[in-house]
Symmetry: C2
Subunit: 459 residues, 2 copies
């Protein structure tokens, strides 16, 4: 059982837009255990579309198509599907009514050309689109004797004139497989499902109508559940070294490791018949990973360092303030991204200029003269001054050199310090980051957030 | 002349990673006037790879392949290219020496399996990769009498035993076309070029070696030059209304309009024989757009609002400070992204908590009581207090409600104010943004930067 995903549109082949639909559909198919063998993107050219659909039907059991269902002359998916199977486009009254209603609801006149969106390859089935004017198309094909493709019409399609169709012709999640005798799907048949290219419309159509029906038809090879464990404070290889037995290929569940902007994530992927079984497989692996990595782990799935920091502070009813030089507000901005951050984030000082460090954060000028701005004593003084000035339980601070210019052999571009002051102490940490200006700033901000997080874990 | 781009890798078909190489290559090919008809992504499966390469060679004149050139068992591009053309893989000594040197330079032992990266389909040509261990492959094929594909070996390949090859066999930008008699490329022949999947290595190989050679071989169908004009302060439809005659379909140069996070961009795209001709087409259109849109335009191509602000401040040798509530540091962070920002950005205060607005920015508590924090008087008082405390020429400030919770009919989620204080005055502006917490924060930060930009343009 293999699937192919086809994206239609010259805006994609030209590089103007990035195709993200194919990745999204691959992820959703993986969740129901269907492996994707191919992604194809094809320009708005009728002949090329017909050829691409034929190639896909030959090699794949399931073909998901996105795009080309709009009302303009560039929208060729309907016609290409009809040509592929040698059938005409026929009018479907309920789809037309729906399109008219959408325009009426918006108090706009329906342009004539939108009528084409109610035309479907004879023998195919419309998939209603509550969110837009482009219905989808569900079409089963099988090879004919001379290598051509033939539409397999289900009993619903055969029961009447489609132009007089009623809502019973519409796809519902519980409608039965289209093979006339109800037998299980024969693998050299191919099911083509065309959906709109607009991501929000496609997402809704896939989730509510296509996925349930695929599962009901027995396409699903089980479920796939994924869990992401996020770490900070060690490199990718150092993390992997502790998990060699888990990340080896061919393990079940699979454990993969990826690095993004100095955050290291472990992805646990389990396949099973039910979500419960998959989760039961993941649980002991997650436990092992958390035990071995200890406080390197700051969160799961989409959690970021600031989410972890705010969650702990909220639970302890404590507050934080920031004193930023090299990160220029990014630490506060990240904390401010968390909904409800106002319960813990008092505010901060962006002390980009040295004078501001002295005037607003009470850093002694002599300290700057002696050690330079980019130093442990200055970053610690900034944290202490900030905590006292803003009256916070904790203050975190940053200094560093983000470049691109201004480095020296003594203090190279990428050298950064993070400081932390609390009731009774102050400490700092440094790192020499490699990367662009933006990467150095981002990673230094993470280092500061992590410094506070680790302190909160132990104290 | 049509091209196809093939990405190889199960991490792409599974949806784990997003393919961005294909878009990048489409954009680069568009720049040299080569239209892309297809993107294909294929899983790590030898048979599927061979089939995909054959389909591509049949329908496209140029096939760019990325991925599958690594040293592991999953890396099948070399073998698939050889199978497609019915040839063996042969050893290429210079490539092997280069791989060995890369490991030696990193003081690491070369694993045996890396030897496979020095194997090439007989008759193909290696493309050196200075940035990694995976050389590329340049392979011209033509159809044989029974529909099979045959490698067309150029004179370089025929001159000697490839296993004893020297650097003269390596691809250089000025090496001549591979057709033996130097005649122009015959269109039913197909040129396959395999490059590494690692984006940075692929980018360098394409730019330095593949593109120049494609142009020299006459693949280029002219040049395409693009110019982006960036605007802020009006909606997409309001901008488009002023440019209806330019954005109509079928115009030359083409003008497209896109909105991203409240920034509206006009893309001017011109096709011509030379870059100079294309630029000459763009120039009057850009002039018209700038005249009609006036101060809505803040920059071109990749310029952001903060780049415009820093550039003007630098030229005037003036300074800015920030006083942020709802944006929590994002205004300062954006200014801090600009290289050399330290010449103008003194720093700022993140006054998230109301108390900080009073204590660090001298906002009168009575003002907050009377108008509430999210009000014009408070955002203006913050800017005035910030400018005076930090000793800057200008101060910009923000307040607002980013949500998701906390809105009222009086002050809904999305309501935001930006303030500006200068030598002799203060003003503010408000907007009711729709969007997520992150979008509301981002757009409010842009509104503050734009307030200062517009002031700098007129004063």
């Amino acid at each position: 059982m293999k699937a192919e995903i086809i994206s239609v549109g010259s805006e994609l082949t030209s590089g103007q837009n990035l195709d993200t639909n194919s990745q999204w559909l691959s992820q959703r198919l993986a969740e129901i255990g269907i492996a994707v063998g191919w992604h194809t993107t094809v320009a708005d050219d009728l002949e090329d579309n017909v050829a691409a659909f034929r190639i896909a039907a030959e090699r794949a059991d399931l073909v998901l198509i996105t795009g080309g269902l709009g009302p303009t002359q560039d929208d060729l998916t309907r016609e290409a599907l009809a040509q592929m199977a040698g059938v005409e486009l026929v009018f479907h009254a309920p789809s037309f009514e729906h399109i008219q209603q959408l325009f009426a609801r918006r108090h706009r006149a329906m342009p004539d050309r939108n009528r084409v969106q109610a035309m479907f390859p004879a023998g195919s089935e419309p998939i209603p689109n509550p969110h837009g004017t482009a219905p989808g198309i569900w079409m089963n094909v099988r090879p004919g004797v001379s290598g051509e493709w033939l539409v397999m019409s289900g009993p619903e399609q055969e029961s009447g004139d489609r132009s007089q169709g009623s809502m019973k012709n519409w796809l519902t999640p519980d409608s039965r497989p289209l093979t006339p005798d109800g037998s299980p799907l024969i693998t050299h048949h191919s099911l083509l499902v065309a959906m709109p290219g607009v991501p929000s419309e496609m997402f809704a159509m896939f989730e509510k109508q296509v996925r349930p029906r695929l599962v009901a038809m027995g396409f699903s090879g089980g479920v796939v559940v994924q869990r992401k464990i996020n770490c900070f404070g060690a490199g990718e290889s150092a993390i992997e070294e502790k998990l060699m037995d888990l990340t080896r290929r061919g393990q079940s569940p699979e454990v993969g490791i990826t690095a993004s902007d100095a955050t290291i994530s472990l992805r646990i992927l389990a396949r099973a018949n039910t979500a419960e079984e998959a989760k039961a497989q993941i649980e002991p692996v997650e436990k092992t990973i958390r035990e071995r990595l200890g406080s390197f782990v700051f969160g799961a799935d989409e959690e970021e360092l600031q989410d972890a920091v705010i969650a702990i502070l909220k639970a302890r009813r404590q507050t934080v303030a920031t004193a930023e030089s090299v990160t220029a507000g990014l630490v506060a901005r990240r904390l401010g991204l968390v909904p409800g951050a106002s319960a813990c984030l008092l505010g901060g000082v962006v002390a980009y200029d040295a004078r501001i460090k002295v005037e607003l954060l009470d850093v002694p000028p002599s300290l700057i003269e002696e050690h330079g701005v980019i130093s442990a004593p200055v970053v610690e003084a900034m944290a202490v001054g900030c905590r006292s000035r803003l009256g916070a339980d904790f203050a975190i601070s940053t200094v560093g050199l983000a470049g691109p210019g201004g480095g020296s052999s003594d203090k190279p571009v990428g050298l950064a310090f993070a400081g932390l002051a609390w009731d009774g102490g102050v400490r700092s940490q440094s790192f020499n980051w490699l990367g662009t200006r933006e990467e150095i700033q981002s990673r230094t901000a993470k280092m500061a957030l992590n410094l506070l997080r680790l302190h909160l874990l132990t104290k």
